[in-house]
Amino acid sequence: MKEIVISVQRIHKELLFLLTCFLFAFLLNVIAVITYRTPWIEIITQIGYVLAITLVVYCFIFLVRGILFFAKRFLRKHSSNPVNRKLPTIKQMQ
């Protein structure tokens, strides 16, 4: 079975995405409090909504990134430009 290695860089990258989503959701909550003139305590009390929105946005971005990744890979594979083709290694030729 192939081992899947998740590098530290990958983890950092994903955490950064998650943090960005959380900041976005948090900002949304702040805007809502200002717009609808609700009590500022909702910054804390509505944290459930903030976390839920974080998760939804993260999953959405993950989906988009996944689609972009596979689209790139598909295009690379079927591209007519030989430069883009992966040449076999000497070891493979042997």
Binding site: L28, I31, A32, V33, T35, Y36, E42, Q46, Y49, V50
Partner: protein, 443 residues
Amino acid sequence: MSKKKVKKVDLGLRQFIKDLGYVTGGAAMLGAMPWLQSFTPEKISEIKGEKARIALIGTGSRGQYHIHNLLPMNHAEVVALCDIYSPNLEEAGKLCPQAKQYNDYRKMLESPDIDGVVISTPLNWHAPMVLDALSAGKHVFCEKSMALTMNQCKAIYDAYRYTDKVLYFCMQRMFDEKYLKGMQMIHSGLIGDLIGARCHWFRNHDWRRPVPSSKLERQINWRLYRDSSGGLMTELATHQLEVCNWAAKHIPQSVVGMGDIVRWKDGREVYDSVSLTYRYNNGVKITYESLIANKFNGMEDQILGHKGTMNLATGIYFLEEDDNVGNSGIEQLLNQIGSKVFASVPAAGSSWRPETKKEYKPHYVIEGDYNINDGLSMIGAVKDGSDEILSAFCQACITGEKGKDIVEEAYCATMLCLLGNQAMDEKRVVDFPEEYKIPYMKF
């Protein structure tokens, strides 16, 4: 004249006026509710130690309800009782053993030892008894509605104009704290311009009382027959129409409606289901409905303004700007985004979204505990203004001061009830007749 005794002054009404904010908002409050002018703390102190001698004509359930309210009053004593139905008279006699008993009210009115009479009889007796009592020089407190016919109402009003005696009709909402405070708020613009009123009174009861003999059917179940009752309109609607006029400061010009006997087909003559619309000249309408075979919606007096709704019966008001009660800012934002995204219904063609009833944050007219009349009792509710208005009458019997606008309010409300009955019977729009208009009315 009543005997002078050194007794504590009844503080109930004084405190009631104070609680309404007389001390802080005096002139404005009295201007809007002139019938309270006689009951300022200064005037109440004038009757210190005196007692009004009260006689009751009609000692059935409502009469006995009044007796229960009279007994604790320091400024009143029950001196006489009158009823043609002996079981009622006996029951009332147990409550007031010292009161003299009569079967003929005319004989009772001859007694010089009576200052005021409280009339709680079938509606067809109101006019003759009120007029006889005023002629006999007695102050009169009569149950609502004013009378059975428009001519009788006019006769009472005309007699009242020329008598120096006190005349009250039991329009108890005029003395109910919730209504008084609610009206202050309405007239101060809290709910904005008046754009409508919705009143209803639903019960689930056949209105019948047990009858020991078939000969007594029309006497005991007088509410069910047209020669003694105006039905749901005069028994129930009169209070609510009075409240609407009080809020609007005008009288409706026309009425249309439908009445039927839907459930209680037991030989009664009055409708058990009524639905009417009263229209003011500015287009504002009162929607009135009453039926006595379903109590789900209870009793409500809703005054609708462009900024909010006041339900006077419950003492709760709602503001239009609060239409997202319980929703946090983020919930409201998500709802708004959601409505924009899902607003159109392709299958329906054009954009359409049902405006289902929203939840509003309730605001209370009075802080703390207070009584709400659920409208189910056939006798009377607790603390609905009945004891206050009776107390006010007893005070007026001592001072001789006529209550301002009480008769006029009762006249207007009763006339509207009778017109409503006419509209339902004749199945047409009925305008307020010119010959029954009085100077007090504003159309």
